[in-house]
């Protein structure tokens, strides 16, 4: 059973551009600061209202389009950051926010792009760790109602792709990939992806398995055809998700498969590709690939090699089962899998599937072949 995203969503994916210009955003930031200064003159307190991006109240599940989305700005949970604040923690948060806005304005003015990593390294003593920067940058995006890309922040590249395809870049160049492993460029740099008639696209959770498949030339096979192999190296970053959702939208007839470990995190990774993430709720509509089909591995399919579900795994599985999309038809197979893991207290990783003779490559070949054959008969 496959699911298609609505035409309006496809529209959005295909036409996704930074909606606001640099000047517009710079002026939004300036307005923020001048309001703040006016507040200082008035009350002696500098305050900023920041939209809290991840808070559960800020996010809702769109039952029709089957992805997470942000509530309207008016309904969003907001936090107030003030200086001087009642505690040192408040003052610190204010400093973090101000310095980040400063760095963003600087890069927008100069026309340079920065990564979140770059921002962190500018003032490690202040930011203390990368996740603080990650969060504040997205909160700023939400508050100003613009994408991270519009703020001039690009993702450090993480995802890998292999096979035969090419990418038309915005700077006019053509990046042709011919059977070698390629880093997926930041999506802001890509104009379009040409999959050149591949028979399917396969997304793999783990880099090790991905590399194994590449070195055995899994992307070019007589029995299952030509394919593009992709890995997000675990939880996919923005560029990888954009890459996949763009391919899914531009090539609706090309099957898209996902292969993850049979554990709660693997299932979560698959759901991130399919339904979106809580962190990016305000951008999810152009980042999801609802039609991605889960091809394995299943906890039932092993001969041995199961490991015990840890307390943390169990908590994660229960948390996932409570998520709103877990009760939809689109997520049924994943729901059953999580329940079986909990019932048996077991999980299994992809690299352990099968024995010497029957390994992950034969497993995936079989799983994909079954599905491709089923598509033909329809």
């Amino acid at each position: 059973m496959s699911f298609t995203q609505g035409d309006d969503v496809i529209e959005k994916i295909l036409n996704y551009r930074s909606e606001e210009s640099r000047e517009e955003i710079l002026s939004k930031i300036e307005t923020l600061i001048s309001d703040l200064m006016a507040g200082v003159a008035d009350t002696g307190l500098a305050t900023i209202r920041l939209s809290n991006r991840r808070a559960a109240e800020s996010i809702r599940f769109d039952k029709e389009k089957l992805h997470l989305t942000a509530r309207d700005a008016a309904d969003t949970k907001q936090s107030i950051i003030a200086f001087p604040g009642p505690t040192i923690l408040n003052s610190w948060r204010f400093a973090v926010l101000m310095r980040t806005l400063d760095i963003i304005s600087e890069s927008l003015t100069s026309g340079k792009v920065v990564t979140k990593r770059d921002i962190y390294y500018r003032e490690t003593w202040l930011f203390r760790n990368q996740s603080i920067v990650d969060r504040i940058v997205d909160d700023i995006g939400r508050t100003l109602n613009v994408s991270r890309a519009a703020l001039g922040i690009v993702a450090a590249q993480k995802g890998l792709a292999c096979g035969t395809f090419c990418m038309h870049k915005k700077d006019g160049t053509l990046m042709a990939v011919e059977g070698e492993i390629q880093l997926i460029p930041p999506f802001e740099e890509i104009k379009s992806v040409d999959v050149m008639d591949v028979d399917f696209v396969l997304v793999i959770e783990k880099e090790a398995i991905f590399r194994r498949l590449c070195s055995s030339k899994f992307y070019n096979r007589a029995d299952i055809g030509r394919s593009i192999l992709v890995t997000g190296k675990g939880y996919p970053d923005l560029s990888t998700r954009q890459f996949i959702s763009n391919i899914a939208a531009c090539h609706p007839d090309t099957p898209l498969f996902g292969a993850v470990d049979s554990d709660p995190y693997g299932i979560d990774i698959l759901c991130t590709y399919k339904f979106g993430s809580r962190a990016m709720a305000h951008e999810n509509s152009h980042l999801t690939a609802l039609k991605m089909e889960w091809v394995g591995v299943n906890v039932l399919e092993y001969e041995d090699g199961w490991t015990k579900l840890s307390v943390g795994d169990r908590k994660k599985a229960l948390k996932m089962l409570s998520l709103p999309w877990m009760e939809t038809e689109a997520a049924m197979a994943m729901r059953l899998e999580l329940q079986r893991m909990l019932f048996l207290g077991k999980k299994a990783e992809m690299n352990v599937v099968g024995t010497e003779a029957y390994n992950v490559i034969t497993y995936l070949t079989q799983a994909i072949k079954t599905r491709l054959d089923a598509l033909i008969t329809h």
């Binding site: 039932l300 015990k308 169990r314 229960l318 089962l321 409570s322 009760e327 049924m332 729901r335 059953l336 329940q339 079986r340 909990l342 019932f343 207290g345």
Partner: protein, 309 residues
Amino acid sequence: MSKQYFSTSLTPEAHPADIFCVETTSEYAITSSGNSTLKLWNAASNDHELVLTIKTTHRLGIHHVCANKELGLIAAVGFDGEISVWSLQDCSCRAVISDPKTAYWAARFSADGEFLAATSLDGGITVWNTASEGFEKCGELETKGSSGLAIDYSNDGRFIASGHENGGLYIFSTETARLLHSLPGHIKAVRAVAFSPLSKLLAAGGDSNVITVYDVTSGEQVFNLSGHSRWIMSLDWNFTGEYLLSGSFDKSLKIWSIEQTECVSTQAESDSAVWAAKWTKTAGTARPQGFVSVGIDKTVRWYREATGG
């Protein structure tokens, strides 16, 4: 001497998810699954049609269900770790039991209905008094901390047995609340424990694929039953104590003769794992005893013994 059983009826798509557990009383077979509804099926009729549904609030699914006919109560344990108790008469909820520190797993009423006992994932066993308003806790048994996966009360009410994730297998005295036996024989998870009807023997099975049977008084292992190729998920004695019914991850059910200590019948109609199977308890011994099984294929299957012509 082998026995012949045949499937008399089956209800496919009985639930929209795996059916994890089945309990039988003289009137019903009660099934619980990955969705939040308990279903009660007519045990006495030939069609075994659906008689009642109980909508619970276990949104994450229900993996264990047990019942006591005298009390007219059903207890359901959800993946959320809570136990909900329902009246068979009016399908109303009588109690919801939860412990923020742990999750309950397997539950069983005592034969006389006075108590409800349940294992939890932290290894403990809790006992509640069913007569008290809101089910008051009246006992706690501690084991060495490995998740309790299975529990049973002996029919004479004197013993509780529990099986655990690390292979732990224990018999407690209900009178003294003390550990009587720590039974050897399992180093992997024990998923099912069952006392024989006269409370003389205890059968246990799990990830070793072998059913071990012990003398309750001495704690000695009296024999083994081998034949399943995968984990034992459930065990149930028939009312005479002559036969043991096992359901396994290897997709089959087996009936074992205690006298011959060997398998006398194998049923392999399902193409996926059997999660649970129980003998039916229909009143009147004119009808030969049958059983009902459930599992991953979402089908409730009823079997009856083929009586020789």
